[in-house]
């Protein structure tokens, strides 16, 4: 299941809801992406004071559903949950949650990593970072993210 929403989510409650009543699940893997207060390294002089996530309503849901379908096709998954927020967020807030549940851990670990790698290069979201002075900067895409996604095509 995928959800695109402005409001925050409760990681524990989401995981409990997903596993409740499904005793075929032997392992759950989750990844939570947070807003951090620097751009690339802790030594960066400019602090990020907030971030606004813009997205393409319609295409976002379509791409997330496609990515979920690929993961379900590739690994024996009992359940999948992807939640991605949009709007303005401050450091420490949740941005994204990926949860994968399977009978065995390997499928859960691998598919969660795959979902994050694909989401980062396919789902139409854009980050606008605000610095200490309130100036906004659009975040550039990183080549490392493309590399991470392309390894799953091998």
């Amino acid at each position: 299941m995928i959800r695109v929403q402005a409001e925050n989510f409760d990681v524990g409650a989401e995981i409990n809801a997903l596993s409740h009543g499904n005793t075929a699940i032997g392992g759950i893997c989750s990844f939570v992406g947070l807003v951090r207060d620097f751009q690339h390294t802790k030594e960066d002089e400019t602090r990020v004071s907030a971030m606004t996530l813009e997205h393409y309503p319609g295409m976002t849901e379509k791409k997330l559903e496609e990515i979920e379908a690929i993961a379900r096709d590739r690994w024996p998954l009992e359940d999948v949950l992807i939640i991605h927020r949009y709007g303005r967020m401050e450091p420490g807030e949740n941005i994204v949650l990926v949860v994968t549940a399977s009978a065995h851990r390997k499928a859960a670990f691998e598919s969660a990593e795959f979902l994050m790698d694909f989401l980062k290069t396919k789902a139409p979201f854009w980050k606008l970072e605000e610095d200490d002075n309130g100036a906004g900067n659009w975040v550039d895409a990183r080549e490392a993210d493309e590399d991470a996604a392309s390894k799953w095509n091998r």
Binding site: G33, L53, E54, H55, Y56, G58, M59, K62, K63, H84, I95, V96, M116, L119, K120, T121, K122, A123, P124, F125, W126, K127, L128, W138, V139, D140, A141, D145
Partner: protein, 83 residues
């Protein structure tokens, strides 16, 4: 054709979406981009050859040579940075 702009393309061009009628000689993605560029000003600035952009046609990623029609939803945006 409905054109949508996102992120810095939206802020540079100064518009979220617009409706255009394609000239008869504009039949593929690359030609739509050239057509918009030919409007000059902020379009030329946002869609310059040095800019890295992506195009989605009816909410799917497409290459430059994909065919287009007036009924399509054509979105232009920078490489994505979510997650």
């Amino acid at each position: 054709m409905k054109i949508l702009y996102f992120a810095w393309l939206r802020t540079t061009i100064g518009c979220t979406e617009e409706e255009i009628t394609l000239p008869d000689n504009v039949t593929c993605v690359k030609e739509v981009l050239n057509h918009l560029r030919s409007k000059g000003g902020v379009y030329e600035q946002a869609l310059g050859e040095d800019k890295v952009i992506r195009v989605a046609l009816n909410q799917d990623y497409v290459q430059d040579d994909a065919p287009v029609s007036n009924n399509d939803e054509f979105a232009i945006f920078p490489p994505v940075t979510g997650g």
